[in-house]
Each structure stands twice: as C-alpha cells, then as structure tokens.
C-alpha cells in the first residue's frame, strides 16, 4: 500500500486539505465566530467564569439529549417526545424522592429504567410495526406531558435531597490546597485532558503514517493540536477561577467521548449509519435493522431520563412545565450540527457544536436584553440558514 500514497506538491496538498476539511470544521468555526461576536457585543460578559459555568449548566441537558437524538436521526427517524419524557421523569423522581423518601441512588436508577422502558415502548411501534416515528413520538409527547401533570397533580414538587441536587449544582471536590481563586484540581484535570488529546492524535497520526496512509500535513497537525490544547486549557482556566468543574460537565464530557467512540469505531455504530444510509441494502447485508432502530429509541429514552434528572436537580423542583419545548432545541442542535434529515449522516461532534451554538445564542441574546420573542425568530433563522448551507455544500 505504501506506493499508493500520492505525494503532491506541498502547496496543492495544503489547498485540497483545507477544502476537504472546511465542511467538517465549518460549524466549529461558526461557533467560534458566534462566541467572539457575543463576547464583543456583551462587553466581555459571555466568557466571564460565572457566565461560562452557567452556560454549561443551562445547556447540559440539551447536549445529553442531542447525543441520543443524533442516533435516532441517523437511522432516519425523529423523536418528538424527549421534552415530555424528560419532564415526566423529573416528576417521577420528585415523587419517589420527595413524597416517598426513596434513596436517591435507587430513585436515580429507577428513573433511568423507566426512561429505557418508555424508549422501548415507542421504539417497538417504530421498528417492528413500521409506524412513522413522527406519529409515534408525537403521541408520546402528548401522553408523557399529560402523565407528568397527573403524577404531580398539577403542582410543583420539591425540594430534592441535597446529594441529588449535587448532580447539577455540584462541583468536583477540591483535593489540592486552594491557591487564591483558582481551583487546582480542575486545572490539573484540564491540563491532563489537553495533553491526553494531543498525545492520542499524535499517536494515531504516527500509526497511520507507519502503515503508509496519507495523513494531514504536519503544519496543520501541529497547528490543530496547539489550538485544541490552548482552547481546552483556556476554557478550564476560566471555569477553574469560578468554582471548578461542574459535576454535570464531567458527566457530559464522558458521554460525548463515549458516543463519539461508539459512532466512529464500533460495529454497532457503523451498522446504525448503514441502516440510515440505505436500510434495504443494510438488511440484505445481514444487519438486523429493526433491532438497531429499536435500540436507538431505548437509548434515547435513557438519555432523555438522564436529562430530566439533571434538569430537575438544577431547578431543585419538579414542575409540570419542565421539559416544554426541549425537543425543538435538541432536534435543531442535531440539524445545525450537520445531521441529514434523510438519515445516514451526522456526527456526535456536530450535534454537540450545534447544541452549543443554540446555547451561546440563547445566553448572549439574554445578556443583551433581547426579548424572548425575537430570540426565537433569530434561532429559527439560524436553523434554516445552517441547513441551507449544508444542503448547498452537498450539492456542490
């Protein structure tokens, strides 16, 4: 294979490399541009440690659900019920923990299991009965919105046990002596993470090179690594000067890494994309398409439940209105992140970036004092614009 590596003149290689990667990094660049824009117009408020921490806390449940929604969208389906399911699970958690004083670990696990059961129930109709997911989950949206109201009897219920609240409002414990305002443990974790990322990409690059695979030019690799490491370090630094890493950020990061790995590197991930890309061809290649579709809905149910718990813990109360409209933000995040409505295309990183774009815009516009009315108008236009650009790029 070594002789197959085509060596082009340096400049041409750089040119084609930029062109090929622009699409992958396009949304990331947009996110950076949007952040810079709001950083300037808000006079530096956006990236203040307190605001940045709030930004993470406010958007964690959207990101968590976007991971599940991405898989559902990749298989060519949609789940409109996630907001209602998250609200319903918050209500169940409140009833268990507040009314019946169930131990919070037990309640937590029970809630995730209920989420899985909800996902299984909806997935069954979609995968095996071939009822369009739009209809099944529209029904689910109504059912669980109603059930949340019924479980809470129309009232808010709280507060949660303090340990459970830590899920959303807690920060990782400080193990090292504090130095002024900086939390050293968080900073250390950030530094280790930055190094690990650079090391992993360097190792994979040299491994590919040793097998004669064409890799990105060295200058790009170096530049990318430096930018990545600096971004991680700077971000942790900002967070660490407030109260350190929020627990939910750790959970979220672990999930992002896990789903990124599953979608890119595992058999099941590859098969999910194949089902979305061409279900008939996948079936004739021996892939159990129904079972995979079913599985993506179960997974979505669990993640919606987790998001519901995070949201309830953050508000420290379960309200019948919790979760209202979440599904729209989650679905928008996936599509802004480059997922295809026809299935088969979409990346975990894209969905996360999409969720962050929505989050930064919400946050930035709120700081600027733009009313909720025009915020929605602008968000709607951004969604349409992002998908238009994507469709245009694919046609080209």
């Amino acid at each position: 294979m070594t002789d197959k590596t085509v060596s082009l003149p340096e400049e041409r290689r750089h040119g084609s490399f930029i062109k090929n990667n622009l699409r992958n990094y396009g949304m990331l660049i947009s996110l950076v541009a949007i952040m810079l824009f709001f950083q300037v117009v808000t006079g530096g408020t956006l990236l203040q440690p307190l605001n940045l921490t709030n930004l993470v806390l406010q958007n964690s449940y959207i990101v968590i659900m976007a991971l599940g929604m991405l898989l559902v969208i990749v298989t060519g389906h949609i789940d409109l019920s996630v907001g209602s399911v998250a609200g319903f699970i918050g209500a169940v958690a409140a009833v268990l923990m507040v009314t019946y004083k169930v131990d919070y670990t037990l309640a937590f696990i029970a809630c995730l299991l209920v989420g899985a059961a909800i996902g299984a129930a909806q997935g069954y109709w979609v995968a095996y009965f071939k009822i369009p997911s739009f209809i099944v989950t529209l029904a689910g949206m109504l059912v669980f919105k109603g059930l949340a109201l019924a479980v809470l009897q129309g009232q808010s219920l709280g507060p949660f046990p303090p340990t459970f609240q830590k899920l959303s409002s807690g920060f990782i414990p400080e193990l090292l002596p504090e130095t002024g305002t900086l939390h050293p443990t968080s900073m250390l974790i950030g530094a280790v993470l930055a190094l690990a990322l650079v090391y992993a990409s360097a190792k994979s690059r040299s491994r590919e090179q040793s097998h004669g695979i064409e890799v990105e030019p060295y200058a790009f690799f170096l530049g990318k690594s430096v930018v990545l490491a600096c971004a991680v370090l700077y971000f942790t630094y900002l967070i660490a000067t407030y109260r350190g890493l929020p627990n939910v950020l750790v959970i979220m990061s672990a999930l992002i890494a896990l789903y990124g790995f599953v979608t890119r590197r595992t058999v099941i991930g590859r098969q999910i994309y194949a089902v979305g890309g061409n279900a008939k061809a996948a079936k004739l290649s021996g892939i159990k398409t129904e079972r995979l579709t079913f599985f993506t809905f179960v997974n979505m149910g669990v993640l919606a439940a987790l998001a519901g718990l995070v949201f309830a813990a953050r508000l420290n109360t379960a309200t019948p209105k919790a979760g209202l409209g979440f599904e729209l933000d989650v679905i928008a995040a996936c599509f802004i992140g480059g997922a295809s409505a026809y299935g088969g295309v979409g990346r975990v990183g894209g969905a996360v970036v999409g969720a962050m774009i929505m989050g930064v815009m919400n946050n930035g516009m709120s700081i600027l004092g733009i009313g909720i009315d025009y915020q929605q108008v602008i968000k709607g236009l951004v969604l349409l614009g992002a998908v238009c650009i994507d469709v245009y790029n694919q046609r080209r």
Binding site: T266, V267, R270, A274, A281, A282, G286, V345
Partner: protein, 525 residues
C-alpha cells in the same frame, strides 16, 4: 390501405450506445401491429420516441401521422392526436376511484367545479365499452390487475384514442383476463383504432396480430404480414435471438466437484398476495466450481427464487429443503444465510446493494465487520488494509477507498458489491444480473472474476436476461418461466433458440386447449 402512422429511419442513441438504428415502422388504421423482441431490443425506446417521451430533436428520423410530419415536444402533444400509451407498470392512483382516475387530468367541469353527474355518466359509458362491470366509485386498489388494465384502457378511450400502445398488457394477467383483453383489442380494430401490441407471448401475438415486426439490437430484423403468410413461431424466435456473439468471454475450463447447494421442492408465496404461489415447488442444484445460469424473461420469478433462498429475504410461506455441502439447513434470516456461506449480489445495485453516500471501504466491510472488529471495536487500520486489498485485487478504479461509492461508474460499483460478498467467503454466490448497466470492458472483468470464483471451488449462480452472456460463461443453463424450471441444458448443447423455445412453449402450454395453440403447433416443421 395507407398507413395512419409511419416512423421512418428512426435512430436513437444514449451516451454512445445505439438503442435504435434506422427503424421503419408503420401502422394502419384498424390494424393490430405486434412488436416483439428480447429485453433491451429497443421496443420501449421506439414507443417512447413515438409518444414524445423522447422529444423531437433527441432522435433522428421522421414520424408521420395522418400524412403529416409530427414533431412531438412531450407526451401531451402525442396524446392530443390520440396516441395513447399504456405502460407495463400501471399509472393509476390506487386510493382514488375508477371515475376519478379516468378523468384525472381533464375532468368535465362547470366554472371550474367538477361536474360529478357528467363524470359518472361518461365513466359508465366507458366502462360498458371496455366490458368492465364495476361501479365508478370503486377504488382502484380493490380491483385485480386485469380490471385495472381495463380501467387504463377506458382512460385511453376517454381521450378519444386513435392509436393504442400496450406494453406487455397480459404479462401479469391470468388466462381469462388475457383473453378478455385481446377480445377488446379485436373490437377496437373494427372501430378503426390502430393498436401496437408489445408482447413476449407469441401465441397471443399469433392469435390477434395483423402484422408482426421483430426488433433485435435496435434494428428491424423481420416484418411479417400475418394476413398474407402463416405465422411460424420458429421464424420469430430465430429472428429475435439470432446474432453474432458481439461480446467476448474469457476462456473457461471447469473442474466441477461435489454438489454444494441443493434445493428441492422449494415453494414461495407472494408477500402481498399470499394466495399467489410465485415459486412452484422447484428443485435446483449447484456443484463446487460450477457456474450455473438461470435464464428467463423478466418476471419469471428468478430474483424471487434467489432472494427466498437468501435468508427468506423475499416472499412468505417459504417451504422446501435446502442443503449446503450435504447438510440440511434452515436459513430464517439474511445473517444466518451469510453465516452458512450464501451470498446474493442483487440486481439493483443502487437501491439494494450499496450505501451510495458511504465510501468504498465501509461498503466492502459492511457484511463482515466482525473480521476487522475484534471485540466489536473496528480496527480502522485492518479495515483499511482489507479494503485496499480488494481494491487492488478487483481493480476497482477509485481515487482511494475513502471515495464515495456514489461517484463510481457502474462497473466499479459492481466490483465494490462483489468485494463485499467475497469478503464473507461464501460457498455459493448468486449473482443477479451482474452486468446490467455496465460497459463492455467492465463486463469482461466481471466475467473473469466469475471464472476465478468458480476456480476457487465456489458454486456460482448467474441470473441474467442476456442469453449470450449465459451461453458464454456458464457450464449449465436452467430456464425458468412462471415460477418453475422449464428446461435445462449443458453449456455445450444450449443455444439461444433452445432457451427461447423452452420459454415460449411453456407460455403456450399454459393456455393449452386453445384451438389456436394447436394450430400453431401444427405449423412447425
């Protein structure tokens, strides 16, 4: 009698492939003109030129209708003159009523509001004319195929048809419905309507046609006036298939071993109409190192048979015994079939074979990911090596294995599909129309690959509608018609005429007892 329609020196080519070459074709008023030829002989292309689907300027030659040269821009132009084509796949809307379908495009109306009384009155008239006793309110989906065909004809009549083109009208009809339809055609003849009948069923053609034109490779090769001379079935068949073997085939020396796949008493029913038996208790076998061809016309049941073997991926109520290397097997799913050593390369590459948006590498490994994924985690280097290896071995022309398969040519796409199935290391490969839509050079490469597969001791089954191809690459040819095998020839004895005759004889026997059939049998030497 002067001709109502005359097509003079019509030629048409697609991207360098000559589909029609100087075809002359004429139909008189009140004449039934049959157009026969193999799949791909150019019948449909000629009719598309006539009906304006291929507009004036995209072909050479002239069309004269009613003594005037016509230049149709689209199908509306030809319909305005009363030239109506009824396609093999009916173009009715299933969930609308008969009346709504007949008057879909130009319903009688007053001030833009549909005049329902008029619609019903005229629908009843038209239905009476075609002899269909159904209420105008009946939904199309509640009608059988035969009655749907009659609705199509009623629709044509509503447009004041002067020339009716029927593309394989009886292909999906039973005897009684076919007979009724042909009866209608003969009535139209009395009314001075010209008809063009495209059909594979020579007995029908012989029964109703006034004139027969045979097309082969885009040329008119025979023209028979049935009123002047007797219809000889053999003459038609010879005209249809007789040609020089234009393609070259690689040398083949077979070493045939033990049977590897044996099927007996195999029966399959239609998934949507479970009362219809599509595969009728057939037996079939392939030996190691043997290439077996399955010949037959479109709709003979070949694909359905192959897919039902492949993990019951087609049909319901599949029964019969299947033995692989002497051991009885039950293969309830595609995964089980792959594990057992079966592979099926579909005839529809784009819809069923490939994930076009994915790259070459992902498509090659899709059916055998476990080989490159120890512990269910894909080793991307191992995967890349396997994919590159197949790319070199099969000479897949692509920029690299990360190229989208949708961007490749048909031949290279087919090699990707073949790679995918070779990677599963099958004992038996079933190739369904492996060279459809592929240029001549790539065809030769595919034939070489088939040879190599057989030499490696695998059993290969090739389903093809191109008879020269089967004759060129197979050791044995089985002929399927109407869900059953109706003939089997060793390659040394097989000829196109024998195969065609096996098919046609069977079609005729299907309607045995008809006096015409007996007469035709008598006219043979």
């Amino acid at each position: 009698m002067t001709a109502m329609l005359e097509m003079r020196n019509v030629s048409k080519s697609f991207a360098g492939v000559q589909a029609l070459r100087d075809v002359n074709f004429s139909v008189e008023a009140g004449q039934i003109h049959a157009l026969v030829g193999e799949n791909g002989a150019g019948k449909s292309t000629l009719m598309k030129v006539l009906s304006g689907v291929y507009p004036h300027g995209s072909y050479e030659g002239t069309i004269v209708f009613d003594d005037e040269e016509r230049r149709f821009r689209d199908i509306n132009d030809s319909e305005a003159l009363g030239i109506i084509i009824i396609h093999q796949e009916l173009a009715l809307i299933p969930l609308m009523s008969i009346a709504e379908n007949i008057f879909l495009s130009h319903p009688p109306s007053k001030l833009g509001v549909i005049d329902r009384d008029e619609v019903y009155r005229r629908t009843r008239e038209l239905l009476a004319q075609v002899g269909l006793r159904e209420s105008p309110d009946t939904l199309i989906t509640d009608l059988g195929v035969g009655k749907q065909q009659l609705v199509e004809i009623a629709k044509a009549l509503s447009k004041r048809v002067r020339m009716l083109i029927l593309d394989e009208p009886t292909a999906s009809l039973n005897e009684a419905d076919s007979a009724a339809l042909l009866e209608r055609l003969m009535q139209f003849r009395e009314q001075g309507i010209g008809s063009i009948l495209i059909s594979h069923k020579l007995n029908e053609v012989a029964r109703v046609a006034d004139h027969i034109t045979v097309l082969r490779d885009g040329r008119t090769v025979d023209s028979i006036d049935c009123r002047a001379e007797p219809v000889e079935e053999d003459r038609i068949i010879r005209s249809m298939v007789n040609r020089d073997l234009a393609h070259r085939f690689p040398e083949r020396s077979a070493t045939i071993g033990e049977p590897v796949l044996e099927v007996s008493n195999w029966s399959v029913y239609h998934p949507i109409h479970p009362e219809r038996q599509v595969i009728k208790n057939v037996g079939f076998s392939v030996k190691r190192g043997e290439v077996v061809g399955i010949a037959g016309l479109m709709g003979a049941g070949r694909t359905e048979f192959a897919m039902s073997l492949f993990g019951r991926s087609w049909g319901t109520n599949v029964s019969g015994s299947l033995r692989l290397e002497g051991g009885d097997m039950v293969l309830p799913s595609v995964a089980a079939a792959i594990d057992a050593g079966l592979a099926y390369v579909t005839e529809d590459r784009k819809q069923l074979g490939l994930i076009l948006a994915d790259d070459v590498r992902k498509n090659i490994t899709l059916a055998s990911l476990d080989q490159v994924a120890p512990g269910r985690v894909i080793d991307d280097i191992a995967e890349l090596k396997v994919a590159s290896d197949y790319r070199n071995r099969m000479r897949i022309r692509c920029s690299d294995v990360y190229q989208e398969t949708g961007q490749l040519s048909g031949g290279n796409q087919q090699k990707v599909v073949l790679s995918k199935w070779l990677m599963t290391d099958p004992k038996v490969l079933i190739l369904d129309e492996p060279t459809r839509g592929i240029d001549v050079g790539a065809k030769y490469e595919i034939y070489c690959i088939i040879n190599e597969l057989a030499e490696a001791g695998r059993g290969v089954v090739v389903i093809s509608s191109e008879m020269p191809e089967l004759l060129g690459i197979c050791d044995r040819i089985c002929v399927m018609n109407d869900g059953a095998f109706v003939g089997e020839f060793p390659a040394t004895e097989a000829t196109q005429e024998k195969i065609m005759r096996a098919i046609m004889r069977n079609d005729r026997n299907y309607e045995s007892g008809e006096p015409e059939a007996a007469e035709m049998g008598g006219s043979q030497p």
